[in-house]
C-alpha cells in the first residue's frame, strides 16, 4: 500500500471513531453503577434500566412515540405509494410542480414547518395532541417514503401489470397480484425509514404535542437533571438496539425479495 492510501485509511478510521465512539459510550455508561458520566468506571449495574422501566413518564413517552411513529410511517407510506405510482406511471398536467411541492419538506427547515403548522392549527382551533404530531410527521416522512418507493416503481417493467390485465385480471387485481408483491421490499424500506425519522423527530413533536411527551422531548427535558443522565444512557442503549434490529429486519426482507425476483433491486434501504 502506498503512502496516500495509508493517509486515507487513517482518515477513515478517525472518521468512524468520531461517528461511533459516542454511541459506544452509551451502553458503557448505561451499565456503569456510578451516577457521574466519567471514567474510571465504577462497577457493573442494571439499576438504570430498572429505573427506566419503573419511570411512568418515560413509559408514556415511549408509548406516545411508538404510536406516532407507527401511524405516521403507515400513513406516509400509503400516501407515498399513490404518489410514487402516479409519478412513475402517468403523465398529467402540473406533475412536476405537484411532485416538487410534495418533496419540498425534505429540504425545508423543520422549525419553519413546525412553526407554521402550529400557527395554522391554533388559528383553526385544533387541540394539540398526538394526532397533530402524527399529521406533522406524515408530512415530513412523505418525501423520504416517495423517494424510496419511486425507485421501486420505476424499476418495475410496465408490461408486468399490463400482462396481468391482459390475462383477465381487473386493474386492482393486477396491482395487488403483481405490482404489490414486487414493490414490497420498497414498501418495507419506506415504512422503516419513516418510522425512524418519526421516532427521533424533536422539533415538530415539541411544538405540536401539547402536554404529551415523546421520547425526544422527554430526553431533552431530563438532560437538565444530572441524576437522570444514566437513565437516559440506558434509554439510548435500548433505542440503538431497536434501530439495529429494525435495520436488520429491513435488510432481510429486501434481500429475500431480491432473491425471489432474481436479484434486481427495487429500492432498498442500503
Amino acid at each position: 500500500m502506498n503512502r496516500s492510501g495509508r493517509g486515507l485509511q487513517a482518515y477513515a478510521v478517525i472518521y468512524l471513531l468520531f461517528l461511533y465512539a459516542p454511541i459506544i459510550l452509551l451502553p458503557i455508561f448505561a451499565f456503569n453503577s456510578g451516577t457521574i458520566i466519567a471514567f474510571p468506571l465504577q462497577g457493573f449495574s442494571t439499576e438504570w434500566f430498572e429505573q427506566m422501566w419503573s419511570n411512568t413518564t418515560l413509559r408514556r413517552a415511549l408509548a406516545n412515540s411508538l404510536t406516532i411513529a407507527v401511524s405516521a410511517s403507515v400513513l406516509a407510506t400509503c400516501l407515498g405509494i399513490f404518489a410514487a405510482r402516479a409519478s412513475t406511471r402517468f403523465a398529467f398536467p402540473g406533475k412536476g410542480g405537484i411532485m416538487g411541492f410534495i418533496m419540498l419538506p425534505m429540504v425545508l427547515p423543520e422549525i419553519i414547518v413546525a412553526m407554521s403548522l402550529l400557527v395554522v392549527l391554533l388559528g383553526v382551533g385544533v387541540q394539540l395532541s398526538l394526532l397533530t404530531v402524527i399529521a406533522g410527521h406524515t408530512l415530513i416522512c412523505m418525501p423520504y417514503a416517495i423517494a424510496v418507493l419511486s425507485t421501486a416503481f420505476s424499476s418495475l417493467d410496465r408490461s408486468l401489470e399490463e400482462a396481468a390485465y391482459d390475462l383477465g385480471e381487473s386493474r386492482w387485481g393486477a396491482f395487488r397480484l403483481v405490482t404489490l408483491p414486487l414493490v414490497m421490499p420498497g414498501i418495507i424500506s419506506a415504512l422503516l425509514i419513516s418510522f425512524t425519522i418519526s421516532l427521533d423527530e424533536f422539533i415538530i413533536a415539541f411544538f405540536l404535542a401539547g402536554n404529551e411527551p415523546t421520547l425526544p422531548t422527554y430526553i431533552f427535558s431530563q438532560l437538565r437533571f444530572p441524576r437522570a443522565i444514566p437513565v437516559i444512557m440506558a434509554l439510548g442503549t435500548v433505542l440503538v438496539l431497536i434501530s439495529i434490529v429494525l435495520l436488520a429486519i429491513g435488510e432481510y426482507f429486501r434481500r429475500r425479495g431480491n432473491a425471489r425476483i432474481g436479484g434486481s433491486p427495487t429500492g432498498g434501504l442500503l
Binding site: S159, E162, D166, L167, G168, E169, P181, R260, G263
Partner: protein, 370 residues
Amino acid sequence: MTEAMIACKGVHKYYGDYHALRGIDLTIRAGEFFSLLGPSGCGKTTLLRTIAGFEDISQGVVLIDGRDMGEVPANKRPTNMVFQSYAIFPHLTVAENVAFGLRRDPRPKADKAAAVEEALAMVGLKGYGARSAHALSGGQRQRVALARALILKPKVLLLDEPLSALDRKMREQMQVELIKLQRQVGITFVLVTHDQEEALVMSDRIAVMFEGEIAQLDGPEALYARPATRRVADFIGVMNFLPARILSESAGTVTVEVAGLGQVELPERQISRADPEDDGPMIGFRPETMTLLGPTATHSQPRETNASIDEVVYYGDMTYYDLRLDGADQLDGKARPVRISMRNVFGRDVQEVGTRTRLAWSPGSLVLFR
C-alpha cells in the same frame, strides 16, 4: 376466402399533436399468421396495442370476430399478448405464471393443473412447472409467455417483437417453432416485428407500415418480388436502384432508358410507385436476379452488361459483389455501385476486386418506380 377475425376500419390514433396511426384499414383472416412490419416509430406496436385494448383509438373501429371492441377493455377481449420483455411474473413459479389467467376459471384445481401441464408440454417445457420464473433463460421465458397466453385459448394471439431479445440461433429456432405452434393451435397470430427476414419467414401475409400508414399488404413472395413502392422495396431485403428516364409509354408498357443497363421495355405489372421524396423514376432489381459471368461463360439471358468489381464480400455459401456498371453515371454523373449475390457452387471461382466482368440479366426482373 376465410372469414375476417380482425377488422380495422379508418383507425386513427393521436398522441397530443403526434399522429401515430393515419387511417388504418386492415382485415386479418381467421387462422392467419399475420405480421405488422416496419421501422421503429412506424406505428406497428401502437396498432397492436390498439387491437389488444391497451390504447384507445381516436377515430375508427376495431372489430374482433365481428364484434365492435370500442367499449371492451383489454381484460375482456378475446386476445392475449406476448410482450417484448415477456413480462414473466418474477415472484411466481413457471406453473403459477401459466395458471395466472385461470384464476377466474371455475374449473376444479386438478383440471387447471392438467391444463397448465398441457400448455407447458405444448411449448416444450414439460416438467418445468415448479421452477422459479426468474431463473429461466430468454428462450424459456418466451415459451412460458406463450404457454401463459395460449392456455386461455384466445381467438387472437398478439406478439410484440417476441424474438428480438434472443440470439440469432435461438431466434431462428423459435421462428420455426412458432410457425409449427400456430398451425397446431389454429389461432390467429398477429406479430409485430422490425425484422423483414423474420416477417418473410413466418407470415402468411404482411402489412408493411411507414409513418402510421400501411404501404403494402401482401404475401411474402409478392412483397419481395413486387414491392408496391420504392420504400417498401428498400425495406424488404436488398434492392439495387438505378436512375431511369422514361422515353415513351403505350398501352401500359413503358420504355425507359436505365443508367448502365440501356433501353428496356416494361409491362404494367413491373411498374410500382415512387415515394414523394424520390428525385425521379428509378429502376430496382434484387441482387440474386443478375448473374456474374466468368471470362468465358455463356448464358441464356437476353441481356448482358459490362462492369468492374469494386468490392468482394465472401460469406461461405454466398459471395456479394459490389459492381460499377459501365455507364451507370451517364444520367446524373453519380457513381452508383450495385450489389450482386452469387451462390458459391463447386468449380466456380470467386472473382477478384478490380476485375472487368460481364453481367447477364433479364428485363423481367426489373421494377420501375415512378
